[in-house]
Symmetry: C2
């Protein structure tokens, strides 16, 4: 590894990990702060659990992975207990809801934001540490809790800068699908394998299209590479019933609900699901959330296998260009739903819960695509050092600027090469360089250089060229702060 | 472990880890946001590195621990590479400064805030995951960089609510101690063991007092349990020289500098250190930071072994009561200094660096002790549910309140027992409960209950008692938002 005599470690992040610099940190923080303000207004309280949990408390598998310990960073501590980094924010919530069940308010509304870790093969844009931003209500059986989270999700998207009309929150219900399965004759205990295939098939509708799903519902499907996936073996009628569910959306929520009621027929669980969807729509309408923001859409199938009641997903409807320059909708940035068994693993008691997870990186990418980055990412005013013996004078200048609330720095590198100082200011995206050489010091003045105007020629400019640019002013030293403020004003 | 047939995992954090709820998260965030604003104004950029590093990049030991892998949570990944959780924010900075050395501005001012992990025996108040808040300047050889960080530290303390006069930033210099060692005849390569004993001895001055340190400088010291620690074996004269350093502080910075100049005599390194201290004082004075905020104090010895030049420490000077009810100064909340070898481990090149770390939990404790908690920790207005069939009406109320920017909730638990709703509001520290039963609905009114006044009797109140309290008003439904605003107004 090392070639010389002295061993030098490699200065690298581990594979699949990355660093976030400056504006990357600031913009994410500004976005999460805007979301926090909405969650706070809705009465949700922050919860920050530790990054490390016992493997026992986490559960041995990710929601969609059934191999034990798959996908988790884990190690054995000195007492031989297995510890692991959390892989999401829901498993720690389950542990907290059980551990503090006699102390927490019930229902317990909480939000959590922070990194999670997945021990998976990294790939382009696929990291082993990433942010999640979750909000959940634990202990509220009523679908009013689901409706509330849908409304909060809409508000959160608008708070970060996604305009109304550029997003839609789609609501569906797992119970309706269960009802449809019942109607299709797939409800018995002996039909679990078929139901599994059906779930996985409709989960792929975006990728395979209706025909691909229909093939998987029937005998099976051969993909482009020639590989054959065995299907659920449903009859054409059965398959039609299932497909009817995924395409049941109509022009209005009332019509969609009516169509679904038709589809679930006499199924009790199906009817319950349709009733829940109707109630959610009514509760949202009472708060002024109409179908321009939140719609009932049975086409939302993602994660249906994991959830037990209402499911919801936020999609951004504006178009972006993909890698190949083709237009496509931005797509999903958040999803969630109602799930059981959260606390039950620990206590044996059913505790209803519903919650949403926002894809932090996806939403940030959307804000960038829309030019809606919230944070102020301007660089500092840079006070240059013309005469290193007068460092105290330069520090006094920077002190005055900072006291006036202006972001400012004195150049702290070797001041000998003035060009380096200007290159530094350029790299810092500095709006203004302050210059005071011996002449100016004698006259009691300072020079302010407008670097936003001058940025393009900055890289190779000598001091002489620099001083001749029109975008510079010489002002009395006593006017420094006022002159900087004036130049910074938009 | 489990007694029943179904195995139930324990709902517990691993030993030494904890959860942070509601106001604990909010107050820490508010404090860190205030510090961020100061760091930003000083031109420092945020850096967020991943929690996971290669063991190789981290280095195999903590600054003050010399056993390999001691104190770190580490595991082997599937490629047999050892990975570990970062134990501080400085080691990742070193890796970043080396990895991106051609891309980062130089000097590079960065701040970082986040959790770090130590695999140590947990104890009371001693956790294995805790926050650090660091600011460092990499690549600035001038002590102007050290002076800047001292000024920034003072500003940060004031920004979070520590008043001027309640803190002092103490500055010392490792080079001065080196000079004093030279004067005491301890500078040769063969005296490394003695210098180590001297460093460790004066590092303990707070605990052992001058006499204990003097014993360790001489033959050795027997502690209360009878254990004997071998000393450095210095003569009385040599010990006197060293002790003179730790007690060199005088009434003014000028006098302290003069005294130190005396102590280091003809030592070149010692004189350099004294010059640096003098320069720092001059630069700080030019920015208006006088000895009411920042003082030269050779009594600051903590961590001298780790640093190579200026060191600084922020102490809070107000008194608190300790566990036994005795008055004592609050003490240190932040410390730092100049260190070499940061990037050198990776690149072989010296890169000067200086930085400070704020003890996040210590500073939070200080703010609590002074009653200076920044965050608004008020609970939400709770809209109670008197009639579950009118949930849409209650959600409309809560929607109006939220739209007006008021933190509000509708009760989402089982509404049957109204007392439970009031207990819930109490637990949520709700300022106001909104009540609308059938009568009020008919009249088109709502009742607002002032819970801050009513808090004490809330726990066992029946609805009837509750309605008779004077701290409640009945207002037209249309006046809901205005009436809530009025009741919330201070």
């Amino acid at each position: 590894m090392s070639t010389g005599k002295t061993y030098r470690p490699k200065a690298e992040t581990p594979k699949g990990f990355r660093d976030y610099f400056g504006a990357e940190v600031t913009t994410r923080k500004a976005m999460l702060d805007a979301i926090t303000a909405v969650y706070h207004r809705y009465g949700f309280d922050p919860l920050e659990t530790s990054a490390v949990e016992t493997v026992e408390a986490l559960g041995k598998f990710l929601p969609d992975v059934d191999r034990p310990n798959e996908g988790v960073f884990a190690w054995q501590d000195e007492d031989a207990d297995w510890l692991a980094l959390r892989y999401d924010l829901t498993a720690p919530l389950a542990r907290v809801a059980a551990q503090y069940r006699y102390d927490l308010p019930s229902p317990y509304r909480r939000f959590a934001m922070g990194p999670v870790w997945r021990n998976e093969k990294p790939g382009p844009g696929r990291f082993r540490q990433f942010y999640q931003c979750d909000a959940d209500t634990v202990g509220a059986p009523s679908v009013a809790a689901d409706a509330e989270i849908c409304a909060m999700l809409a508000d959160a998207l608008e708070a970060v800068g996604i305009e109304r009309g550029d997003y839609v929150v789609k609501v569906n219900n797992r119970k309706v699908l269960n009802g449809v399965m019942e109607v299709a004759g797939l409800s018995g205990d002996d039909k679990e394998a078929e139901r599994g295939i059906v779930l996985r098939a409709i989960d792929k509708i975006d990728r395979l299209g209706p025909e691909g799903v229909r093939a998987l519902l029937g005998a099976g499907r051969k993909d482009d590479s020639g590989d054959f996936t065995k299907g659920a073996g449903l009859s054409a009628d059965q398959a039609e019933t299932i497909m009817g569910f995924t395409s049941a959306i109509r022009a209005t929520g009332t019509e969609t609900v009516a169509r679904l009621r038709d589809l679930v027929g006499a199924s009790a669980i199906g009817t319950e699901g349709v009733d829940e969807l109707e109630t959610i729509a009514t509760l949202l309408a009472a708060q002024g959330y109409g179908p321009d923001r939140i719609v009932i859409d049975p086409g939302v199938v993602r994660g249906l296998g994991y959830y037990t009641g209402p499911v919801y997903e936020a999609e951004l409807t504006f178009e972006i260009l993909d890698d190949k320059g083709r237009k496509r909708q931005f797509g999903s940035v958040a999803g969630g739903g109602r799930y059981d068994g959260l606390v039950k693993r620990f206590t044996g008691q059913d505790v209803p819960a519903t919650g949403v997870s926002i894809g932090v990186d996806r939403l940030l990418a959307a804000l960038h695509a829309k030019g809606r980055v919230i944070a102020d990412t301007a660089g500092p005013v840079v006070v240059t050092v013309m005469d290193r013996d007068r460092m105290a004078d330069y520090m006094a200048m920077v002190g005055e600027l900072r006291t006036a609330g202006i972001r400012a720095e004195v150049y702290l590198g070797n001041p000998k090469n003035f060009g380096n100082q200007l290159k530094y200011a350029d790299k810092r995206q500095s709006p203004i360089a302050i210059i005071q050489g011996g002449n100016e010091a004698e006259k009691g003045t300072v020079i302010l250089k407008d670097l936003i105007l001058g940025a393009k020629i900055a890289e190779n400019a000598t001091l002489e060229e620099w001083k001749d640019r029109p975008a510079q002013v010489e002002v009395p030293r006593t006017d420094l702060v006022a002159a900087v403020k004036k130049m910074l004003a938009p």
